[in-house]
């Protein structure tokens, strides 16, 4: 197992280096000059421009800038934002929990709904439930979520006024950030109604974000179940007179879960991409919106370090999925 892990990690090193090159390189070929954007309509004298470029290190050769970037990275320094002048890592850490909270709740919704629906659809293959749920899943899979979010806002916040328009919690609640997760912090604060308020703010964006993963998981669960239920051992178990529910729950479901877990793991990239849109629509203070803003402001350090962090997270989650997969399915390990 340890060896398996080490090989996997070793494998990641060149990929990670590649990611640093891509993140750094992309940012350098972005058209536009952050120094000029800082000055706006007013303009800068060439001397002042040179001075600022020097101060920000943009006058060094590109390779030197890249090695500076790498060196600082090894010391855990991701640079300072050109706009706020604050450390990028600090900004990332304050915003990241908001995205994670949204993502976790979304994946929980997707799994809690998607897996049972998939299982039921598989058991009742061909029934109206199967047909309706799988059609719904395909609709969900085809959903432009930015539009879906707008529709839900019109309906639930505009017409019905059940949910708040945007934000993470009602402004009347004010308590220190302990974990950065509003649901947990609101409970820790002990303030009455804070948790409900946080939950009511979270519900629409997480449902929107969950839409596509939910559809994928439901479809995947159904086909995995169908496949497993056709296997010999399940048929044997059935033949041996084991109760049907036990066959399904113990044998079929457990084995069907292997590909499903992989699917869930692979949704992390989907979730991060979806977070960009969801956060934009709901004004959710997470890293998706932060990245978009930074790209348009040409905030080099934020864009390159943000890209890097996000790619690193996707990579790590994929590794975790691989490991889980290895745990559940020992055959992989020995290969």
């Amino acid at each position: 197992m340890i060896r398996f892990l080490l090989t996997k990690l070793l494998y990641l090193v060149p990929t990670f280096l590649g990611i640093t090159i891509v993140a750094f390189g992309f940012v350098r070929v972005l058209p536009g000059d952050p120094v000029l954007l800082m000055a706006g309509e007013r303009g800068l004298t060439p001397e002042r421009h040179a001075e600022l470029a020097h101060q920000l290190g943009f006058d060094k050769p590109v390779w030197a800038q890249y090695f500076d970037f790498l060196t600082r990275l090894l010391h855990g320094d991701l640079g300072n934002s050109l706009v706020t002048k604050k450390p990028v890592l600090g900004e990332f850490l304050t915003l990241f929990p908001a995205t994670v909270e949204l993502g976790i709740v979304a994946i929980i919704i997707a799994t809690l709904v998607g897996v049972p629906v998939g299982v039921l659809a598989a058991i009742k293959r061909g029934s109206w439930f199967d047909q309706v749920s799988m059609t719904a899943a395909l609709v969900g899979f085809s959903m432009p979520i930015f539009w879906w979010g707008l529709l839900l806002i019109i309906l639930f916040s505009g017409i019905l006024q059940w949910t708040p328009v945007s934000g993470r919690i009602s402004l009347m609640f004010f308590f220190p950030q302990v974990t950065g997760f509003m649901l947990i912090d609101s409970l820790l604060s002990g303030q009455k109604g804070a948790f409900v308020s946080a939950l009511s703010h979270l519900i629409l964006p997480s449902v929107v974000l969950a839409t596509i993963p939910l559809a994928v998981i439901a479809r995947q669960t159904r086909s995995a179940m169908l496949e497993v239920m056709g296997e010999d051992y399940v048929r044997t178990a059935k033949a041996k007179g084991m109760p049907y529910s036990r066959v399904v729950m113990v044998h079929a479901l457990r084995n069907a879960m292997i590909p499903v877990i992989t699917t869930i793991g692979l949704q992390v990239g989907v979730l991060l991409a979806g977070a960009i849109l969801t956060e934009t629509i709901f004004s959710w203070p997470g890293i998706g919106k932060w990245m978009i803003d930074s790209i348009s402001r040409r905030d080099y350090p934020v864009v390159q370090s943000g890209l890097l962090m996000i790619a690193a997270i996707v990579m790590l989650v994929n590794l975790l999925v691989d490991l889980t997969y290895g745990l559940i399915n020992p055959r992989i390990r020995h290969k």
Binding site: L36, E41, G158, S166, M172, Q191
Partner: protein, 534 residues
């Protein structure tokens, strides 16, 4: 669900009430963007100043609410020497600094704080100059303070003497700008000792009407009434900024009474806002101008007649209607009508395609094709440059001029439009910083501005015009300056380096029960006088 949340709200409101001795009055402002930081000096965005300079800090002088008139603030009075180069400020007595969890002031405001506020920006060797890596003082630099200020000296605890290198009438208006807010030297010392210098930018300490409480990035900023404020105490207890970048979401929050006031409504929503019985809408002409700058150094645009003819070919009213959706007015001068010295006697070149055609023919211009530069971004003075350019294009076609619309990424646009020999006319604009006409005319139209690094995008250098501006800077007599600027506007109109397009109008929607809010022509949002009536 609605009922449930209401009763929950009531329950938690009750809980809050029992905790607080008296019912706290909270005012929520749905702000448009996150502040870059809370130290007002290193930043340039209005949204940053709304969250730092205005609630937390004071300047020596400030703009009177709702005007661009400079009034005393931390300086009770000031004297200017005969030659206009020495300013002596007499500070207000007994101004208390705010406190927070890491700082309790031991002294009141003194001349030391004022000196510190200047030197940290002007002196690169000061340990507080670059207290965060990469920090710079763009406003201080771009307002040419380094060239202007010779020395800042403490005379006694409550007197500061500032010596200038040359007389400069707009100097006092510069001091009222947000970047020149007075910060506490004692706080800086405390933080330096604790090794947490960056808190100077994260946990601001000032003398203003509100104390900073907390900021949650991209989400919410909280302020509290400053009980020791030297001026009139604010009427609200808590001031909250709910950061909401999207205009339609802001409006929904306002409608739901999740906030009581918001900036920058979408033009499309103005009618809805006016119709809503719970809302009211304030409006004020903005201190700005949108223009089309010809390159006056390139043929045939070096000819006054050609520029005039093109100006007459463009239907500006149509732009106001279609692009500004009525939220603006046609411009005839380079400065807005709300600014002092605005010359209303100037006659605009009337829209007259026939005459324009004839003028072009007389000037010997045939089959002219030109480029129109359209900015890629929306600015307060220009909601949609692309659409403006499209309208111009069709207007120009009517007088036989072929126009091609070009655009670049915003940073590139700013750079390329200032390159020598630029091909085409550029749509751009300006928002005033300090209400002084010099802040428009010198920056945008003087000979000095036509050089690299300037902002004179017409590359227009008229000696007579520039001399008038220089002369006007040397005296602080407003009547005399007004006369000079009025004359300059006449020359500008005769020479027509720009087509002056529009001055946009600002709108601020708020709940009906909000009182005491005054719109600022500079686009500031300040809340020390607001109140909510029940």
């Amino acid at each position: 669900m609605k009922l449930l949340s209401r009763s929950l709200l009531a329950a938690s409101a009750l809980a809050l009430m029992s905790a607080a001795p008296a019912l706290a009055k909270t005012f929520v402002y749905c702000s448009e963007a996150s502040p870059e930081g809370f130290d007002p000096a290193p930043y340039t965005a209005g949204t940053t100043f709304d969250a730092s300079a205005h609630p937390v800090y004071n300047g020596l002088v400030e703009f009177k609410s709702g005007t661009t008139e400079v009034v005393p603030a931390l300086a009770e009075s000031w004297d200017v020497s005969e030659d206009g180069t020495v300013y002596t400020f007499h500070l207000r007595k007994g101004v208390k600094w705010q406190s927070n969890d890491v700082f309790t002031p031991t002294r009141e405001l003194t001349a030391d704080d004022v000196v510190f506020s200047f030197v940290r920006q002007g002196d690169a060797t000061n340990p507080w100059h670059e207290y965060i890596p990469g920090i710079t003082y763009e406003y201080y630099t771009s307002m040419e303070m380094p060239d202007l200020v010779k020395s800042v000296e403490k005379v006694d605890d409550l007197t500061v003497k500032i010596t200038l290198n040359h007389p400069e009438a707009p100097f006092i208006a510069n001091l009222a700008m947000p970047f020149m807010r007075i910060v506490s030297q004692e706080y800086a010392d405390t933080l330096a000792k604790a090794g947490t210098k960056e808190d100077f930018n994260n946990k601001p300490i000032g003398t203003g009407p509100f104390k900073f409480v907390a900021y949650q990035k991209d989400a919410v900023i909280r302020f509290q009434k400053n009980p020791d404020y030297w001026g009139e105490a604010p009427k609200i207890d808590d001031l909250v900024f709910a950061i909401t970048p999207d205009a339609s979401v802001r409006l929904q929050k306002l409608k739901a009474n999740e906030c009581q006031l918001m900036p920058y409504p979408a033009p499309a929503d103005l009618a809805t806002i006016k119709a809503d019985p719970n809302l009211k809408l304030d409006e004020l002409p903005g201190l700005n101008v949108a223009y089309l700058a010809y390159n006056t150094t390139v043929a045939p645009f070096d000819k006054v007649e050609v520029r005039k003819a093109l100006n007459m070919a463009i239907n500006k009213q149509a732009i106001i209607d279609a692009v500004f959706q009525g939220a603006g007015q046609v411009a005839k001068n380079p400065i807005p009508p709300t600014m002092w010295s605005y010359n209303d006697a100037v006659q605009d070149d009337a829209y007259d395609p026939e005459a324009a055609k004839k003028m072009l023919a007389d000037a010997g211009v045939k089959d002219l094709s030109m480029k129109i530069w359209a900015m890629p971004v929306q600015r307060p003075y220009m909601p949609n440059a692309r659409r403006t350019a499209e309208l111009m294009q069709s207007d120009l076609a009517k007088v036989g001029v072929k126009a091609e619309i070009v655009s670049y990424e915003w940073g590139e646009y700013l750079k390329k439009s200032m390159e020598e020999g630029r091909d085409g006319a550029v749509i751009l604009g300006w928002t005033g910083d300090n209400g002084d006409p010099d802040n428009f005319l010198s920056v945008l139209l003087s000979c000095a501005g036509a050089k690299a690094g300037g902002a004179n995008r017409a590359f227009w250098c008229n000696q007579e015009f520039s001399d008038l501006l220089t002369q006007a800077k040397k005296t602080s007599d407003v009547a005399e300056r007004t006369k000079l600027y009025e004359q300059a506007q006449v020359i500008f109109k005769e020479q027509a380096p720009w087509d002056t397009l529009a001055h946009s109008t600002q709108f601020v929607p708020m709940r009906k029960n909000v009182t005491g809010f005054t719109m600022s022509p500079l686009g500031d949002f300040t809340f020390e006088n607001v109140d909510i009536t029940e």
